[in-house]
Amino acid sequence: MLKEHFATLERRLAEQIAQGEDNPRKLYALEVARFGQRLYSGEHKIAWTGVLAPFELLNATGVTSCFVEFTGAMLASMGFSSTFIEESQQGGFGSDMCSYHRAILGAQRKGLIPSPNFLVATSCPCSGGMAVMEILAHSFQKPLLVLHIPQEENERNVRYLANQLEELHNFIAQEAKEPRDDAKLAQAIEHANRTRETLLELYELARHVPSPVANNDLANFAYIINLLMGTPHGTRLAQNFVDAFAKRVRAGSSGVDGEKRRLLWIQNRIQFKNPFISLLEKEYRAAIVIDEMNCVTWEKIEPQDPYMGIARRIIGNPFNGPAQRRLENLQRLARAYRVDGALNPCNWGCRQGAGARGIIGKGLNEIGVPVLNLETDCADKRNFFEGQLRTRLAAFMEMLEENAQRKGNEQR
């Protein structure tokens, strides 16, 4: 079913693009469709992974890999997740669990998740994700490697993770029955570095006032970029957006018509179809100028010393380590992008992310950025209460409007 879905999607998008509808978001969607095809074709070597798996290693060894939460997100965007979540609950998985995880567990029970060659679990970002990997490894009876990502960034920890990454590289080569090729990895790192540079350029353009970013432009962008890390495709997707945004900036036009408010979106977007984004744009002229997930927090990696560089990137990810580190990154983004407010979906069941809700809210309030906690479900539409969210959003936007008026009065 999913194989056909991605094939149909790819065909439709390719046709639209051939007819001139080649905006960067369509090109992005086409890449997602192609990625989905590779994952579901049955003809490629595939791996299921955790969020912070080093995709360069996997791509360099010819393995198409995906972190399980993204699959959950894809199922939600296709409108299937609620069915699979129900299936997972029938299988005994409690409704308190993260809905992304329940979606994939339910899909797996229905036989709709292809059996991988192997699995790679990552201890960051969450315990729940780790548990899902274990369950999948047991269900598929396939080899599992666990990456322990230490919390603190220091040389010992980076070395420890780097050694694990080298072991992982050997593991991937063994399970994929491909020779370990360090030259290919070096080349993948070079691609990754180019992707990084293009992303920096892209996110710098997004800072412009008004921002060239329309609210759906960069939704889930970082996910697919990470999955394509180490290939030229990610750079190309990022470059498409750079070109489009640069054009908008030169023309003085904004992604959201008449941009009035600038927002930071915390953690994950709401994956299924919902009126929220359109409401922000049309009713409130509010632009999501930056997503927390869409920022570059790593330095260029030395191609001849890939494991240490990747290890540093992973350990330094703001979702790893203390909430304070994550908060500092959010504060940095809020300042850099001159946001008026932040939206935190607080996805149901998200212990690692939404768990620090108060710490993040207080920390952003301290720099004058109000936060609206949506308390919604990003993957299960049955848990999305439109009326209540509209009221909260309306009240929040009224608050931002008042703040803006006060700031305007103070500056006069």
């Binding site: 209460f385 009221t391 909260r392 608050m399 008042e402 703040n403």
Partner: protein
């Protein structure tokens, strides 16, 4: 100039009229099933009471759950912003507003000038809302209006441990069966609601200069329980039920001039 605010709630619809200097009057009526009809009815009624016509009213702001249905309103503003404005009008020292409505409860933090600084809502479950009290009143076979008096006579509030309204109702029935005094049960119910609602205030980072608005604020027993939980005297708005409508009228005056 005259300004009007209309608060269309699930149970009652309230209206307030202001001129440039003072509150002219308020009115409370039932909502029924048609929000727009209810808004029109109370608007016309208050105008008639004051010898005014619709054309005398410069601006109208609608709030509450039915705010989007009021075609003749100049603007719809959420009840959060309106309750904040209304509370600040009653008392310029207030910093936190608690509004327990029929179907939701809110905690609002006010800034220096009475603007909304932050807010939290419980609109996902009946616990901590007026609905919770209605369910309990039915279980105790008592009018809701008598709750305050009963609870203030409690000698030992019976703890209600369930946070879910449905289970709390079973728990209350069990307490009745055990022969627990209604006074103590009601005090326990108030304590349970206060725990839930005060948690929102504490999450906002404060527990002083608190005012309660909304119809449930007339329940002195619940106000007392909240004061105890927050360890501060919770004031009650002199216009508890009409607070949202007053706030809407103030905003009509302020924002639309």
């Amino acid at each position: 100039m005259i300004y009007a605010g209309i608060d269309i709630g699930s149970i009652s619809t309230k209206v307030a009229l202001l001129d440039e200097e003072k509150l002219l009057g308020t009115l409370v009526s039932f909502s029924g099933y048609n929000a727009e009809a209810a808004a029109k009815r109370v608007f016309e009624e208050i105008l008639a009471q004051h010898g005014l016509r619709a054309t005398d009213v410069a601006k109208v702001v609608a709030t509450g759950y039915g705010r989007a249905s009021v075609a003749f309103a100049d603007k719809a503003i959420t009840e959060i912003t309106c309750h904040a404005a209304g509370a600040y009008f009653s008392d310029g020292e207030v910093r936190f507003v608690i509004d327990i409505g029929g179907q939701d409860s809110k905690a609002i933090e006010l800034g220096e000038g009475g603007q909304v600084k932050n807010f939290l809502m419980n609109d996902k479950c009946a616990a901590g809302t007026g609905r919770f009290l209605e369910v309990m009143a039915r279980a105790l076979e008592l009018d809701l209006e008598k709750f305050a008096d009963f609870s203030l006579r409690a000698d030992l509030p019976a703890p209600i441990s369930n946070i879910c309204t449905v289970f709390a109702e079973s728990e209350v029935i069990s307490l009745i069966a055990k022969g627990e005094k209604r006074e103590n049960i009601i005090a326990g119910i108030h304590s349970a609601i206060a725990a839930r609602v005060s948690a929102m205030v504490i999450r906002l980072g404060g527990a002083s200069a608190v005012m309660m608005t909304g119809g449930v604020a007339k329940n002195a027993g619940l106000v007392s329980a909240l004061s105890e939980k927050l360890q501060t005297t919770v004031k009650v708005s002199p216009y508890a039920q009409e607070n949202g409508a007053i706030g809407a009228a103030l905003l009509a005056r302020r924002l639309l001039k």
